[in-house]
Symmetry: C2
Subunit: 355 residues, 2 copies
């Protein structure tokens, strides 16, 4: 089976956490698909409040919820026994369960049986359970943007979500394509690309953004980095299968080394841009780097302006911090590409003549 669409709207389960840091997934879901969230549910010891209605699983089901989503990530990714009763109760109330835990939901005693009896689904987002074909390299219709990075964990998901939202707000056809657990919970579907069997990384990425309208942008969440000693293979397979027309490079100017790998320096932006473009052009000779998405959260306002101006001068690309600046300039550029794609489709000769 090749479909893994998650049933919305969501009841977000918070377990027994006492810190917002542990609620990163829950906050991401609330912020990015708040319209798909009916409420939150915490165990008695939970002190975190997302500022949305608190509902029991049964109340949420009555109000039309489709799934209980585990919105917290305990160390080690285990499902604590203290959660078992809630998960089974939610299943019995008719909710699907969505988990990004390392432990599989079926390992919770009685949960698989309860789900079978209730006719509900258990989604282990970290374990796709999907099988893919190998990549074909066939060029697909439609436009694609992939966020890439100089490292892991510096804003590739956030950047892609922001761009997709801003394109949609500007009236451009656009879809966010999720490749990681939180992204999949937000989008309601996707492929956890790092959990796919190695032979099928590019094939899974091809499947994720199928043929589409000529003026439609798939905005694909990137993973890893070509300069990462552990994860570059995932990044390259995703890059090749995505066939991006546009790349956006995510970067944190305060980071000097690959996070957790002190001997591995973050490359210069010029090097990173050249390498990504070189590799991307294997499956899309028209691939271009369009912008640098900066995480400037650690910089003062003065430093921030200087750094952004420097990077703009160095790369001659659009430079923006998606959290602080929005994507106005990039959205305008992507809108123009989208419009010329339509024009090219209806009047191919005319456009060629104009170039």
């Amino acid at each position: 089976m090749r479909t893994n669409v998650i049933r919305k709207p969501y009841l977000i389960f918070l377990g027994d956490i006492s810190s917002r840091v542990s609620a990163k997934t829950a906050l991401g879901i609330r912020d990015w698909c708040g319209g798909d969230v009916i409420g939150q549910h915490g165990l008695p010891a939970c002190t975190v409040d997302l500022g949305i209605p608190s509902l029991t699983p049964a109340q949420a089901a009555l109000q039309g919820a489709g799934s209980l989503v585990i919105g917290v990530a305990p160390i080690g990714g285990r499902i604590p026994p203290a959660w078992h009763a809630t998960l089974i109760a939610a299943t019995r109330a008719g909710l699907d369960i969505v988990s990004g835990m390392h432990d599989r939901l079926a390992s919770v005693p009685g949960l698989a049986e309860a789900a079978a009896a209730a006719g509900t689904a258990l989604h282990d987002v970290r374990h796709p359970g999907l099988s893919f074909d190998a990549g074909t390299g066939r060029k697909r219709s439609g436009l694609r943007l992939l966020t890439v990075g100089t490292d892991c964990a510096l804003g590739k998901k956030y950047t892609a979500l922001t761009i997709a939202r801003d394109l949609q707000a500007a009236g451009i056809k656009a879809t966010f394509r999720a490749t990681g657990q939180t992204g999949i919970m937000i989008a309601g579907s996707g492929v956890p690309i790092d959990a796919v069997v190695a032979d099928f990384i590019a094939g899974a990425a091809e499947w994720l953004s199928p043929d589409n309208d000529a003026d439609h942008w798939d905005v694909i969440e990137g993973q890893g980095a070509l300069f990462h000693p552990a994860y570059a293979g995932v990044t390259l397979g995703l890059l090749h299968g995505s066939q991006p027309d546009a790349l956006v490079l995510c970067h944190d100017p305060s980071r000097k080394n690959i996070d957790g790998f002190p001997g591995f320096a973050i490359p210069s932006l010029v090097t990173a841009i050249a390498r990504y473009i070189d590799m991307a052009r294997l499956t899309n000779p028209a691939a271009e780097m369009l912008a640098i998405s900066l995480n400037t959260s650690t910089l003062s306002d003065g430093d921030r302006a200087l750094v952004m101006a420097d990077i703009r001068a160095e790369t001659d690309l659009i430079v923006f911090d998606p959290v602080r600046d929005g994507t106005t300039e990039l959205t305008a550029l992507l809108k123009a590409r989208s419009q010329s794609a339509v024009l090219q489709q209806s009047h191919p000769v005319l456009v060629e003549a104009a170039i």
Copy 2:
């Protein structure tokens, strides 16, 4: 569990094949680890003869065989029902079973039970059943050579096996490290790198060639190609995790496009060399391309000499066809590296001064 050592010697099972093409795996095993092969066993319809003793599984077990290895590959990788009785009989005779089929051995009715009763093992070489950690990038002791390619299926396994054999014959410590099914059967262990979960490609490659003596060469079987639209991610993860000191580029001068991907041109050797070196230096800044391994089977003797001379002039590297030329020049170079590694270990300052 992280060990997957296969019990030798082997009885090679030929099924009911009538063509040597279908016996590629069997021939590879016979040619590369003939000393570990006790005999062959075919069903009544089998017409292929490997030129080694024909034994029943029970006879082979009495002569000390450890495993029956399926040496043929039917289309689709299914295990035909006609084989079931033989596999069960071999298990009952005390042999482990080794299969590179897509179907798992446990899907053969009664085989898992027979193996449990007999205390024998079932090795599905295509399905590793091993779990790995993510890569660490930590530099390991010992020397490593990785074969890479301008495409798939042009001699990376054959080249690595030849180099490892020639090094051993020259008295140099060397181990062939297998990353594909046939290679694993020959070596008796290894990692089917394309079957590993994407996140752990580099980590699995790190595990495959652990710390070793300073003058020991791990000769690692490459997979895929950086220029392959489906498999480049596997290639890059393997390259990073292998941390090769030496690379050997395998190439077929008669091939113009990636096999099966007509729109994708084989890169020039100069481009391929530069790209592999660039990428390899992330995890081993000393990585060097040392030689080009050519498949010249389609060339006349005259053309062959010209092509080899041209490539030598173009790349300034050792050029050899492992089938026709042997590896004398490369072995000498690797031997020198091995010797200077020992010297450097015992007299680090002396060697530095000499440079």
